[in-house]
Amino acid sequence: MPLAEQPSSVPVVVDEGKCIADKGCTVCVDVCPLDVLRISDTTGKAFMKYDECWYCMPCEADCPTGAVSVNIPFLLR
């Protein structure tokens, strides 16, 4: 059976003005236990690629520029 693309609002938000992933930083991507963050090929900034979040917060706590914020996933808000 073919696969569909389903939209999903993701809990981790990155402020692209503050994110320095384009300067080589990968801290948030490195520390995520679920490995759901990536650096975008087009913007060079970090983003949440997979909606598989434990809302645990290392990405936010360890970000050197305060660019990352973790929200509570909608389904359990």
């Binding site: 059976m1 490195d30 990536r38 598989e52 434990w54 645990c56 509570i72 996933p73 359990l76």
Partner: protein, 579 residues
């Protein structure tokens, strides 16, 4: 991004530790400390810096046996009673004797524990009998402090490698493990003289009430991979029917947390704001009373703090919102909740396996040895009951120090190249399909079935139906699952662990035809405890034909005797009706 490259490399080491959460780092650290010349590799599916149950730290030690506050003998007695007597005391006794030394080691690492004005550890009483709860004012720094020590000891760390199967030699001895990189699907074969499994709970077994797959009580990365790997290597697994079910903040699905609030005067209440359990320490019996109240006209259940002074609430709030699960604070703000003005709705967690809180784990003796020679297990996945974070550290140390002596006397076991080739094929199968069912749908269905059919109260016919549905879903998993990149491949491997754990949960629960451990193994059609036939462990394993099998195993003779009038201390959980 996440493209599959399919390379393969091989490394040799003396000890391979799998899992870099709590027990794993301590096992690797202590092994290396005892023999600095040994080659010790720490393998981790995520990144050791922030992996495991203590990713954001811990608010305190829940089972600290500290001279002057409690004794190892008293602790062994308490844990034996809390587990309805089904305990091999040697491992619990060893933990209780060793854990104070581990606290001092953690203190040296820079993790502060709460002390009173005399400089003595400020231990609080939460358990029914003894005093073991020690707050950690800078508990958010645990993982950082630990990581610093690993770097200093020059341990070899391999992040983003997920172990998929253990290797055993012809003689049944451990030979190593196969792992796959979660970013590019490259394989790594590790030959090792000993392997220590520290892979955490099976926390993605039941489905949280929110329906969000990753909104689990446990760190959602803990998908039961260690239980599945130990099973396939032929190791015995003990008392899997003794499920983990924990009280939590409803929907948020993290601890509420009465261990923190209790010593300050907070407690678990019903809708009338009344206390209904004598003791907030998590046991199956306590969870049964919690469940009864939830189902009753006095439900649901709440965390009550609003009778406390403002500064006391602020102190509790600081702990709850900064350590372990810091997004708790954001959740409460979204809901408009304030501990000062109302009570916080609580619920019970989805089921899982976790000896950290209950007793379901890979069977280990008091040296952390499993039933497979050279294979060790520690932490939430090993069978030492109620061992919490300090148990993971302490038993991790036990495993590391025993394994480093074991490897002195052995050489590498032979590895089977055919097995490795077959495993590579099994792992990559979902990436060879262009269409089919994605892992997230197979996972959702499996875990929904776990909720429908395995959640206590357990019913024989329902559990048999579960086995039928699991078999159908497994068929799909093995023949139709599709993964489009390395990340989805990791998820597909996790689904396989979840499926194995679901099968084991049903199989073990059907075996024990009695009720025991309160809610954890409450069988509606066998409601009584049956000490005559079931005062024993259950030991599940894979037989020579690859079939699941299970048998009774005697409880080892007690080291610390339990008097008849003490045995039922944990059965009297309900607050007596007021006259």
């Amino acid at each position: 991004m996440d493209e599959i490259t399919e390379g393969m490399s091989q490394v040799d080491c003396d000890i391979l530790v799998i899992g870099g959460g709590t027990a794993g780092p301590m096992a690797a650290y202590r092994a290396k400390k005892k023999n600095p010349n040994a080659k010790v590799i720490l393998l981790e599916k995520a990144n050791v810096k922030r992996s495991g149950a203590i990713s954001m730290g811990m608010d305190g030690l829940n089972n600290a046996v500290i001279p002057g506050h409690s004794t190892p003998e008293q602790y062994v007695k308490e844990i034996t009673i809390a587990n309805d007597g089904i305990v091999d005391q040697a491992a619990v006794y060893k933990y209780a004797q060793n854990c104070y030394e581990i606290i001092q080691e953690l203190d040296n690492f820079g993790i502060r524990f709460q002390k009173d004005e005399n400089g003595d550890y400020d231990v609080k009483k939460v358990h029914h009998i003894g005093t073991y709860v020690l707050p950690m004012p800078n508990g958010d720094t645990v993982k950082k402090a630990l990581y610093r020590q690993l770097k200093r000891a020059r341990l070899l760390i391999s992040n983003r490698y997920m172990a998929t199967r253990l290797l055993t030699g012809k003689d049944g001895r451990i030979a190593g493990a196969i792992a796959v990189n979660t970013r590019n699907a490259e394989f790594l074969v590790v030959r090792a003289k000993a392997v220590i499994l520290c892979m955490g709970a099976a926390g993605r077994l039941g489905l949280p009430t929110s329906g969000y797959l990753y909104g689990t009580y446990e760190n959602a990365a803990n998908s039961g991979d260690g239980y599945a790997m130990a099973y396939h290597a032929g190791a015995g697994l003990a008392n899997l029917e003794c499920f983990q079910i924990n009280p939590l903040i409803k929907d948020y699905n993290g601890p509420a947390c009465a261990y923190v609030a209790g010593p300050f005067g907070g407690y678990t209440a019903n809708n009338e704001g009344m206390r209904f359990i004598e003791c907030d320490y998590w046991s199956g019996q306590m969870m049964q009373e919690f469940y009864n109240e939830l189902q009753s006209g006095k439900g649901p259940v709440f965390l009550k703090l609003n009778h406390l002074a403002d500064e006391t609430i602020s102190e509790i709030e600081t702990i709850l919102h900064e350590v372990e699960r810091p997004t708790r604070g954001r959740f409460q703000i979204n809901r408009g909740n304030d501990y000062r003005h109302g009570m916080i709705e609580m619920h019970i967690s989805e089921i899982g396996f976790c000896s950290g809180h209950s007793a379901s784990g890979v069977f280990v003796d008091d040296n952390a040895c499993t039933t497979v020679p050279g294979l060790y297990a520690a932490g939430d996945m090993a069978s030492v009951p109620h061992n919490y974070m300090l148990g993971a550290f302490t038993n991790g140390a036990v495993a590391g120090e025993h394994a480093i002596d074991f490897v002195n006397d052995v050489d590498f076991a032979d590895i089977d190249e055919d097995f490795i080739a077959a495993e590579k094929e099994r792992v990559l199968a979902p990436t060879k399909r262009t269409d089919g069912i994605p892992p997230n749908q197979i996972e959702y269905k499996t875990r929904r079935l776990v909720n429908d059919y395995l959640q206590p109260p357990k019913v024989t016919r329902k559990m048999q139906l579960a086995q039928d549905r699991f078999a159908e879903t497994r068929e799909v998993m093995e023949n139709e699952m599709v993964a489009r990149n390395a990340h989805e491949l990791m998820r597909s491997l996790e689904v396989s662990s979840i499926m194995d754990c679901a099968d084991m949960a049903a199989f073990a629960s059907l075996f024990r035809t009695e009720s025991r451990w309160g809610l954890y193994h409450n069988r509606a059609d066998y409601p009584e405890r049956d000490n005559e036939n079931w005062f024993c462990h259950s030991l599940l394993s894979k037989d020579g034909d690859g079939k699941m099998t299970i048998r009774k195993k005697e409880v080892d003779p007690y080291i610390i005797p339990i008097e008849d009038d003490e045995k039922d201390a944990y059965d009297k959980q309900r607050v007596k009706a007021q006259a």
